[in-house]
């Protein structure tokens, strides 16, 4: 029973969460909401929610929330947190801030390839110039424009040197 509840919980969170940070944030919001409901009999939502978080919370089914009680609430939350942290997460380093829509689309594409529980984590690095760098299980792979420039550095320098304007010939100056 509890396994089913756990799976339901994870599925609910992962349906609308595409990054690990987002999933853990939603789990925290759910935890605060359930604590308020179970221990204070209040359905007042936690304060400082983003519109999307609020929308998600409002969209939760009452039956889903009724699965939780005083006995299983904390256990399920803890187990969910552990499971979310164990989920495969691809760190995508970008030179720009990834909007939520694009994050969702990217994650869905990855979930199609690698499984439903796939999550991404975004980081910001302006020095990449364009294109991402990926980190998977500690392995760093740079697909950015910066890396391409670095790889083609010698060729670029040769191009620069060949395109330099010719200065006065020292021998001609000497003859003069």
């Amino acid at each position: 029973m509890e396994d089913t509840t756990l799976n339901n919980l994870l599925q609910t969170i992962l349906e609308t969460s595409f990054t690990q940070m987002q999933a853990l944030a939603r789990l925290r919001i759910l935890k605060e909401t359930l604590m308020a409901k179970l221990f204070t009999a209040s359905l007042a939502p936690p304060i400082n929610l983003t519109p999307s978080d609020k929308q998600w919370l409002d969209g939760l089914d009452v039956k889903f929330l009724d699965q939780f009680n005083h006995k299983n609430f904390s256990t399920l939350i803890e187990l969910s947190e552990k499971e979310i942290k164990k989920m495969p997460t691809l760190t995508v380093v970008l030179p720009f801030e990834l909007p939520e829509k694009e994050a969702r689309e990217t994650t869905n594409r990855l979930r199609n390839d690698y499984g439903k529980t796939f999550l991404i984590e975004t980081k910001y690095d302006r020095s990449l110039i364009a294109g991402p760098a990926l980190i998977w299980k500690g392995v760093y792979k740079d697909y950015s424009l910066r890396q391409k420039i670095e790889e083609k550095k010698e060729k670029l320098l040769q191009m620069f040197q060949s395109s330099k304007p010719q200065g006065p010939n020292p021998k001609e100056l000497k003859n003069e």
Binding site: P95, T106, I129, A130, K141, L156, L157
Partner: protein
């Protein structure tokens, strides 16, 4: 024991001996002679003795006179001798003084002559030493010039070599620095390029273009089997 005493003693002894000899001569027959002859003999003896005594006294007087004479003679002679001695001594002293003066004058002359000779010799020696010193100095200067010329040539060569080594090292340093600076310039060019692209593409690249790049990278990762 003075002479008079000796003479007196001798005379007395002689007299006594004469008496005794006479007494012995006439002793034996004294027994045989009569008293007159003894008396005569005694008288003769007394007479002889008296004569002897008178002779002795005469002799003694003569001896005394003689001794006095001798004493005065000796005193006179000694005075005479003293005077003679003084005279001789004075003469000898004068002679000695004269000789000494002559000797001194002679020695002085010789000494002056010796000094003059010494002066001449010292002048000769000085001239010789001066010539020798001059010659040695000239030789020394010649050798010094030669050594100095050799040393200068050697120093020049060493300096030239050292300078050339320094120049070579400096050229190498310059070349190394040039290469390093060029490398730095290359790095700077790349850094400038990256910076320029970063500034330009941040504004020029749209979200779609960025997402295309992201998707392209994800496809490459999938092809390379980065995500397992």
């Amino acid at each position: 024991m003075s002479l008079p005493t000796v003479i007196f003693a001798t005379t007395t002894i002689l007299a006594l001996f004469l008496y005794w000899s006479e007494y012995r001569r006439y002793r034996k027959p004294l027994r045989d002679y009569n008293e007159a002859s003894i008396r005569e003999t005694q008288e003769k003896s007394y007479g002889l003795l008296h004569q002897a005594i008178r002779k002795a006294q005469t002799l003694m007087g003569a001896a005394e006179l003689e001794s006095l004479k001798m004493v005065s003679d000796s005193r006179y002679e000694s005075r005479k001798l003293e005077k003679e001695y003084e005279k001789q001594f004075a003469a000898a002293l004068t002679r000695l003084e004269t000789n000494f003066s002559n000797e001194v004058l002679g020695a002085e002359k010789e000494f002056i002559q010796y000094l003059a000779d010494l002066k001449v010799r010292s002048e000769q020696t000085q001239n010789l030493v001066s010539d020798y010193t001059q010659k040695r100095t000239v030789d020394l200067f010649e050798r010094f010039e030669q050594n100095l010329a050799g040393f200068l040539t050697q120093t020049q060569q060493q300096s030239t070599e050292a300078v050339q080594l320094e120049l070579k090292a400096a050229r190498q340093l310059i070349d190394t620095y040039k290469v390093q600076q060029l490398a730095l310039i290359d790095e700077s060019i790349i850094a400038m390029l990256e910076r320029t692209l970063s500034l330009v593409l941040e504004k020029k690249l749209s979200l779609e273009d960025n997402m295309d790049l992201v998707n392209e990278a994800l496809e490459k990762a999938k092809a390379e089997k980065l995500i397992i």
